[in-house]
């Protein structure tokens, strides 16, 4: 689960009043590299409209001839302003200042963009389902399909995405089981799952796709897991590791074709838990969905 952050650092690259212009190349390199690190950056040269923020920390970076006492940064109440002179510094050294403020100022998550990753582990690719409530009918099929506790139900009985970082990177399977084409993965390669407009063809395809109950009835997950385990034990006896690996990949690819409409990545298939755990989780998910549906059915019609 991703923790809510109390405040975010806003880095303001400032070239307004009382400061000298920043050379164009440095400005671009600095802003680009800060964004690539996941920072929130604002750039100000002249008068103009910037969004106002409550409860944030603003780090003002500028070439100041003398350190200004205060800056007209539109800082609202609850905002803390930090000012640093970057005259004569390289983009790398300036990034060092930003990292330092980000790590030491009160209430800032110290490593932007690292949500869901361990300190030493890889950066989390923000991959998770997003619900289009203009289309969602609250049928709970996604809830009963997902084994990883990504979905939940609000107090008001509405489907919601509650544990984004539990989602399996690059796996869009739940969007394929949604009968309303209401689940998006903004970083998916193709439409309509990536948020592209939905065509009549897309809707027809959704109506034709595998019925979720037959999917769970057939226990597709445990079938996949068993086949993956069999493949593993068979290939452990192989001397030629490379060939074994290739063969296993081929086998998994074949399975993948069988569930092609779900587009589950091979890595996800091969890392599924044991068949018993899968059965248990599928049962829990199904129960959660049924409870939510019952609760909603008992609600008075408004």
């Amino acid at each position: 689960m991703i923790a809510k952050k109390s405040s975010t650092l806003r880095v303001l690259v400032y070239e307004g009043r009382d400061s000298l212009p920043i050379p164009g190349e440095l400005r671009l390199e600095l802003i680009r590299s800060l964004l690539d690190q996941g920072y929130f950056v604002s750039a100000v040269k002249s008068e103009g409209k910037l969004a106002k923020f409550s409860q944030s920390h603003i780090l003002v970076l500028g070439r100041f001839e003398s350190m200004p006492d205060a800056l007209a940064t539109d800082a609202s109440e609850g905002t803390q302003v930090h000012v640093r002179n970057i005259d004569g510094m390289s983009a790398e050294s300036i990034r060092g200042i930003v990292d330092e403020v980000s790590q030491t100022a009160d209430g800032i998550v110290d490593d932007p963009g690292a949500a869901g990753a361990s300190a030493s582990g890889p950066r989390w690719k923000p991959w998770f389902p997003v619900i289009d409530y203009d289309r969602c009918t609250n049928c709970m099929q996604c809830l009963s399909f997902c084994l990883f506790d990504v979905y939940g139900v609000t107090k008001a009985g509405q489907i919601t995405v509650q544990n984004q970082s539990n989602c399996k990177t690059d796996c869009p399977a739940c969007s394929r089981v949604c009968p309303e084409v209401a689940i998006l993965f903004p970083k998916y390669k193709a439409g309509p799952i990536n948020g592209d407009e939905i065509s009549a063809d897309d809707v027809r395809r959704e109506a034709m796709k595998v019925d979720i109950s037959s999917l769970l009835g057939g226990d597709i997950y445990s079938m996949l897991r068993d086949r993956s385990a069999k493949a593993k034990s068979r290939f452990s006896k192989e001397r030629d590791d490379d060939r074994a690996l290739k063969e296993r990949q081929r086998c998994l690819n074949k399975m993948q074709q069988a569930v092609d409409s779900l587009d589950i990545p091979v890595e996800v298939l091969s890392s599924l838990p044991s068949a018993d755990t899968i059965r248990e989780r599928a049962e829990q998910a199904k129960q959660k969905a049924q409870q939510a549906l019952q609760m909603n059915a008992q609600k008075p019609i408004t």
Binding site: L28, I31, L35, G38, G48, A115, K187, Y188, G191, G195
Partner: protein
């Protein structure tokens, strides 16, 4: 007189779904312009964290978001508890539009270059 717009650029830093050329060219254009702008590393990641800044951004009257598909951006803000206003928000899609077209729209020019002989 046109009302000033806030511009929010998304770098889509944690995945390669927006063509590099488009996001680099649009960012260079924004950085070279005189007008101020806000930019985020990855809107998806901010939405997952329910970053309170998204609510502040959503509450801006006139907002242009330069990111990806409008439907994705709309529901990412909503998922963070920061729904975008129904009016006054413009979303430019770097996955489908060219950098030139986006830069023109940011500058308030027609999105396609004018044919020679046409006056602006």
């Amino acid at each position: 007189m046109t009302q000033q717009r806030c511009v929010l650029f998304c770098r889509c830093a944690f995945a390669r779904v927006v063509p590099d050329e488009v996001k680099n060219d649009v960012l260079t254009h924004l950085v070279d312009r005189a007008e101020p702008f806000d930019a985020v590393g990855d809107l998806c990641e901010m939405s997952a964290r329910k970053d309170p800044m998204l609510a502040d951004l959503a509450s801006q009257g006139n907002l242009t978001v330069v990111a990806c598909y409008p439907r994705a951006v709309k529901w990412l803000f909503s998922a963070a508890g920061a729904p975008l206003a129904a009016e006054g928000v413009e979303i430019l899609n770097m996955r489908t539009e060219t950098a030139a077209s986006i830069c023109n729209r940011l500058d308030g020019k027609p999105s396609e270059p004018l044919l020679s002989g046409e006056s602006s």
